[in-house]
């Protein structure tokens, strides 16, 4: 039986591992993780979990984001053999998170509405504890088509370059720029009414 990716028994996951790896780049940590070093995964987790959660929170709402963050890191563990050596880690990680969010949104369309007649996505939106104006922005973001929302969230909120987004979403850089531009134009239209009272 092939078991080349089992974490070595001599390298248990320890909190101290994250500190030891603090200055190492993601790709080196991933390389170590592929070699069976469990503490390298923990360092990657410590470095990215909160930001992935923030990204997913804006994609699908806070309730689903908790589960999807866990799903994202479980996918990293399960599919670590699919990480291409020499590739950048962050686009790969966010590709997984984006796929998980997209799948969630897709299934929400198939699933039965809740007792109140709302889809899970709508429920997530109503749970946002934001003040009215902030909620308006979240609602505007939620109204963007998924590809445009992904591009804006990754570019603006996660600080990705267009090249990194292209890598994460499996697109060309120019296609990402078009998506982001259209998204910003649409966002501006959606937020236009905010200016009416000021």
């Amino acid at each position: 039986m092939l078991e080349p990716f089992v974490v070595k028994p001599g390298t248990p996951l320890r909190r101290t591992g994250t500190e030891a790896h603090a200055s190492e780049p993601d790709e080196l940590l991933m390389e170590r993780f592929l070699g069976g070093d469990g503490s390298a995964f923990e360092a990657l987790f410590a470095r990215h979990a909160a930001r992935v959660h923030a990204y997913l929170r804006r994609m699908v709402g806070p309730t689903l984001a908790d589960d999807l963050t866990q799903t994202t890191f479980l996918s990293v563990v399960r599919s670590r053999d699919r990480f291409l050596r020499g590739a950048r880690f962050r686009p790969w990680l966010y590709a997984i998170a984006s796929n998980a969010a997209r799948d969630q949104i897709r299934h929400a369309r198939f699933e039965q509405p809740t007792d109140d007649g709302e889809s899970p996505e709508q429920v997530a939106e109503t749970l946002l504890p934001d003040p009215p104006l902030e909620k308006a922005v979240h609602t505007a973001l939620a109204q963007l088509p998924l590809p445009q929302r992904q591009a804006i969230l990754l570019h603006r909120f996660q600080g990705f370059s267009f090249g990194e987004i292209a890598e994460a979403l499996g697109l060309t850089e120019s296609a990402v720029k078009v998506r982001a531009h259209r998204g910003y134009v649409r966002l501006r239209t959606l937020l236009a009414h905010l200016g009416e009272g000021t």
């Binding site: 039986m1 092939l2 078991e3 990716f5 987790f45 923030a54 399960r78 937020l191």
Partner: protein, 242 residues
């Protein structure tokens, strides 16, 4: 132009200035568009890590080993069916042995190497297999001999052969597809490579007319590929890695 619109414009262009910054201080809506501070997820961290620990304890079979297993199963099934079924249309081939061999090699590559590469993480390889699959109908049609038989009976027999021989490879392909993120293109290509087993066997055992080959060899092959996309769409995903 309202300060909100100006803010969004500058945000999009990456030219936020001091005015925008002071505007964001008094406007929660625009402040919400600025990059996040890292939210506090300490409460969730331990449960996420616990789940990851459990997963880390399990062995991971590399994708290429599983995909190679599928390719091997496809090859074995095709070889067994080719050896077992009658009649064998090598001697009676009207298109020539060269063409028949060429088309057979193309289909054999599709069901073996194609199945392996279609499950690879590299998108480029996936597109390569799609190109190979696009060539398959051309190869098959170039070798049609044109022997008219009982149209319906022969058609039903070929249809049954194509579907039954492809069922097991397709089930295996679908299982492997649930281990990666859903992608219609990947599902289609894996479906076409697995359904190619039936197409390959028919290629060597049926020397029908072009219409027959189109309707009862190629159409079921494409339909099985499309069905793979629809079925995969409904299946749960165990990993979202590309």
């Amino acid at each position: 132009m309202s300060p909100h619109q100006k803010f969004v414009d500058h945000l999009a262009a990456g030219t936020l200035d001091a005015d925008d910054a002071s505007h964001a201080l008094g406007c929660p809506a625009c402040a919400a568009l600025l990059p996040d501070g890292v939210p506090d997820v300490d409460g969730l961290r331990s449960s996420w890590l616990e789940a990851a620990h459990r997963e880390l304890a399990r062995p991971v079979r590399p994708w290429w080993a599983l995909a190679a297993g599928l390719a091997g199963a496809n090859a074995f099934l095709a070889a067994a069916a080719v050896a077992t079924l009658e009649p064998w249309n090598w001697d009676g081939s009207r298109s020539g042995h060269g063409r028949l061999l060429g088309a057979t090699a193309l289909l054999a590559a599709l069901v073996t190497v194609g199945a392996l590469l279609a499950l690879a993480p590299r998108q480029r390889w996936l597109r390569g297999v799609l190109g190979l699959a696009a060539l398959a109908p051309v190869g098959v049609l170039l070798t049609t001999g044109g022997v008219a038989t009982h149209p319906f009976l022969a058609g039903a027999h070929c249809l049954w052969t194509a579907v039954s021989l492809s069922a097991v490879p397709l089930a295996g392909g679908l299982f492997l597809l649930t281990r990666v993120a859903y992608s219609p293109l990947r599902a289609l290509v894996v479906g076409l490579t697995c359904a190619g087993v039936g197409l390959l066997v028919l290629q060597l055992h049926c020397d029908g007319t072009q219409v027959h080959v189109l309707a009862f060899h190629l159409l079921p092959w494409v339909a099985l590929g499309a069905a793979t996309v629809l079925v995969r769409r409904r299946l749960p995903t165990s990993s979202y890695a590309p």
